[in-house]
Symmetry: C2
Subunit: 138 residues, 2 copies
DNA sequence: TATTGTTATACTCTATAACTATA
DNA sequence: TATAGTTATAGAGTATAACAATA
């Protein structure tokens, strides 16, 4: 069982590299792709910085510069939270939503190609293992 | 199926962060842990730079500085290849082997904790999915 | 000609500590 | 006191292009 974590790291590197290559015209880094895709996963394309960090597995400090760039390019906006004025709400803009949709489609495509030769329940099992690993590490 | 890649990235970040924390006294970065563990996975704890890059999912350029540091600390050595004098063979030293063994044990431990609550075949399915993703991305 | 690995270069990622504003 | 996020800082990760040595 020792090799799961190493396989995990390799698969992450390989897939991220592939995605950035396929989407090279967007000129987005792996972390920027990840942030956009995770935002698109939230209702209304919006969540707090902390929530985005939890979804990506990174600290808020890491997100600051990533969000700075995305905001500067008009792909996301930062706004106040309704109830807690310490909290920042990150939101996909209209152009950001378009881009994020493309990113999700590329991810889905890569997944579909990979899973094509595997039994149908393999993906579900893999997701369960990924969640369990994240849980065990948190 | 869209979320597999995002779950993958989160799980990788979370587990690497956890491992570096658990092994903080070793003062090794995530990539250094990965390199040592991948070396330990090879026969005699030795392989070429290219092979190590393939195992980790990174380019040879990335490995140069990582190996520089590990070599400087006496954990790995670089030597000539028997048949191809362009090739560099990276090898775990005796202290490096000791450290790598500890890294692998920590990885196995984390895996064991995560898989404890899952059906026995989940790990195998997850490994197959990870390989398929790596294959599809290469 | 093609390949292995390193150098040079330029960014990006990442975390810790200190800080501001708010709770 | 505690928490959300940013800033400052420092170091590590990453790739591309150019290079040397070898095949």
């Amino acid at each position: 069982m020792v090799f799961l974590l190493l396989d995990l790291q390799r698969a992450t590197h390989a897939t991220l590299h592939r995605l950035t290559t396929e989407l090279a015209d967007l000129k987005l880094t792996p972390s920027e792709l990840n942030a956009l895709a995770n935002l698109a996963r939230h209702p209304a394309g919006a969540c707090t910085v902390s929530e985005l960090g939890a979804a990506a597995g990174t600290r808020p400090t890491t997100l600051t510069s990533i969000l700075d760039r995305l905001e500067q390019r008009g792909l996301v906006s930062r706004g106040p939270h309704q109830r807690d004025r310490r909290t920042v709400v990150v939101r996909l803009t209209a152009p950001g939503t378009t881009v994020a949709t493309r990113v999700l489609a590329a991810m889905a495509d890569l997944e579909r190609r990979a899973l094509a030769t595997l039994p149908p329940d393999a993906a579900g099992d893999a997701a369960a293992v990924l969640h369990a690993l994240t849980e065990a590490a948190t």
